[in-house]
């Protein structure tokens, strides 16, 4: 399978790899996919509570090169956007940017899911300071 130059670039030099403190009030964590399916993405955002701007984003991905590239690109795109703007990112834009072939479209869908899951997690933390105890797992409430 031939990869586009952009996929190869993100694979070789992934942007924003790493982890944020999942217990921080300002951090949202999205964990989507499943090991059995061959793709798991963890995407985290750090949101400024005043401006709602995503000031930092990190990811880790288990998956093929296209999955790594999709999540790497997603962290680049969400940085500097407000939470509401980030929710506007569509998987089709990722497909276009990375020239993903049809068999790899699910990678872009997963990246979109990861953004949404991270925002969902952050919102839940913000709204429900009552239920503050950190989850025992990777701090994620994935999916939709």
């Amino acid at each position: 399978m031939a990869y586009s130059d952009k996929v190869l670039d993100h694979y070789s030099n992934p942007r924003n790899v790493g982890s944020l403190d999942k217990n921080s009030q300002n951090v949202g964590t999205g964990l989507v996919g499943a090991p059995e399916c061959g793709d798991v993405m963890k995407l985290q955002i750090k949101v400024n509570p005043e401006t709602q701007v995503i000031e930092d984003a990190k990811f880790k991905t288990f998956g093929c090169g296209s999955a790594i590239a999709s999540s790497s690109l997603a962290t680049e795109w969400v940085k500097g956007k407000t939470v509401e703007e980030a929710l506007e990112i569509k998987n089709t834009e990722i497909v276009k940017e990375l020239s993903l072939p049809p068999v790899k479209i699910h990678c872009s869908v997963l990246a979109e899911d990861a953004i949404r899951a991270a925002i969902h997690d952050w919102k839940k933390k913000k709204n429900g300071s009552a239920e503050q105890k950190a989850p025992a797992t990777a701090g994620s409430q994935a999916g939709h």
């Binding site: 982890s19 499943a34 880790k60 288990f62 068999v103 797992t137 990777a138």
Partner: protein, 423 residues
């Protein structure tokens, strides 16, 4: 707490030592490069000796026929058969089809039951599936954790309608050797024909159709350093005499079992390839086994959570199939793009399903997605093995730093307890 990981850039890779030519080919179960000695034997049969082996009335035909008969003899010698028992085909897929469909049609009066195993090549499985549509009954034997069929399962599966058992000699993904001699013995005792797809085994490990009670056997040239498009089917002529219906009709070549003008250069190549394999098998097998163990040891000394798929004891010398936990196979292949190997990951297949062979061993889907098959062959060197091992290790290390699963496992989270939200 925020961690940053610097990606390994291309410049930080292990440099290729002198004398190593990149990319390195280590996918010898898919196909093998031609041995120059094979090519040399074939060359005259393209131009000067171009005759049709079926032309009976002039020297052009005689020369071609002579070459074909010599090849038949060479193949027969390697497998302990007689030359007349070797039928030329276009390759192993055709040989498998001819053996299974040919027996099914010929012995329909006797019965309609066929036994095979779940880890067979698709050329066997899909042929059996087609026969099911035509009213045949097929038993797909499971395999044990090490990839071997349980002989008791086989004995139990044979009934009075069973006409054929078709079980491969060596598996193309995990290199596991089935106990074909014992299978042959059971089949002979029960009066059932035994076909084996021996494409990966012939020329690599000793196999003898008489000692091992094999009735039909598929062979191909391109897995033993010969050309693509040339194969053979061994069909036993006595004790018992096996009859098969043709699936390709026409001029009645190959004693009516396989019509079509013979691929003379290809057949010459197949013959030469088998002769070389016979000559060099013992020495080459030991060398490949040594290289394979070296590869495994070098990888496993550096990386943890590497799992071997399939039996190490009953295995082709050049095969190694490993799963690298927390790393997806296709991304690993991308990282070692100067090395040609293959993966059981779904992402490398058209179906988006991970390897059915690994699943049949009970390997979880997660580890099936993380598997790499190494096929070491005649032209691989020790220096190449070391380079491949190092490239694999550094790429796995990099990808594990990128893997949320590895991070979670290191935090002590049992991945099996996590509620995954799939797409």
């Amino acid at each position: 707490m925020s961690t940053d990981i610097k990606a390994l850039t291309q410049e930080q890779r292990t440099p290729a030592p002198d004398g190593i030519k990149l990319p390195i080919y280590m996918d010898n179960h898919a196909t093998t490069p031609m041995d120059p000695r094979v090519l040399e034997a074939m060359l005259p049969y393209f131009m000067e000796k171009f005759g049709n082996a079926a032309s009976r009335n002039h020297p052009f035909g005689w020369t071609a026929e002579e070459a074909v008969e010599e090849a038949r003899e060479q193949i027969a010698k390697l497998i302990g058969a007689t030359a007349k028992e070797v039928i030329f085909t276009s390759g192993a897929t055709e040989s498998d089809n001819l053996a299974i469909k040919g027996v099914a049609e010929m012995y329909r009066e006797k019965g309609n039951h066929i036994i095979t195993a779940v880890t067979e090549h698709k050329a066997v499985l899909d042929t059996c599936k087609r026969l099911e549509k035509y009213g045949y009954r097929v038993t797909y034997l499971p395999v044990q954790k090490d990839g071997l069929v349980d002989l008791e399962d086989l004995k139990r599966a044979i009934d009075d309608k069973t006409i054929l058992v078709t079980i491969m000699a060596a598996n193309n993904e995990i290199g596991v050797l089935q106990p074909w001699a014992q299978i042959g013995k059971i089949c002979r005792e029960r009066g059932v024909l035994f076909h084996t797809d021996a494409v990966q085994a012939v020329g690599k490990v000793p196999i003898d159709v008489n000692k091992d009670n094999i009735d039909l056997m598929s062979i191909t040239a391109h897995k033993i350093y010969g050309p693509k498009g040339a194969g053979a089917l061994y069909v036993r002529r006595k004790n018992p005499r096996v009859q098969i219906s043709a699936i390709i009709d026409g001029g009645g070549h190959e004693r009516g079992m396989r019509s079509g003008t013979l691929n003379v250069p290809g057949i010459v190549g197949l013959g030469k390839a088998t002769a070389l394999a016979k000559e060099e098998m013992a020495q080459e097998g030991a060398r490949l086994g040594g290289l394979r163990d070296r590869l495994r040891e070098r990888i496993m000394a550096r990386l943890d959570e590497v799992y071997i798929n399939g039996s190490m004891e009953h295995r082709l010398p050049g095969n190694l199939n490993l799963s690298f936990a927390y790393v997806e196979g296709e991304s690993l292949l991308m990282g070692i793009n100067d090395v040609a190997v293959s993966s059981g990951s779904a992402c490398t297949s058209a179906t988006l399903e991970p390897s059915y062979v690994l699943k049949a061993l009970g390997t979880g889907d997660d580890l099936a997605h993380s598997s790499i098959r190494f096929g070491i062959g005649r032209f691989n060197t020790e220096a190449e093995v070391d380079y491949v091992a190092d490239r694999v290790c550094e790429t796995v290390e990099r990808l594990r730093e990128l893997s949320p699963l590895y991070e979670m496992a290191k935090e002590g989270i049992n991945l099996k307890d996590v509620k995954w939200a799939a797409e």
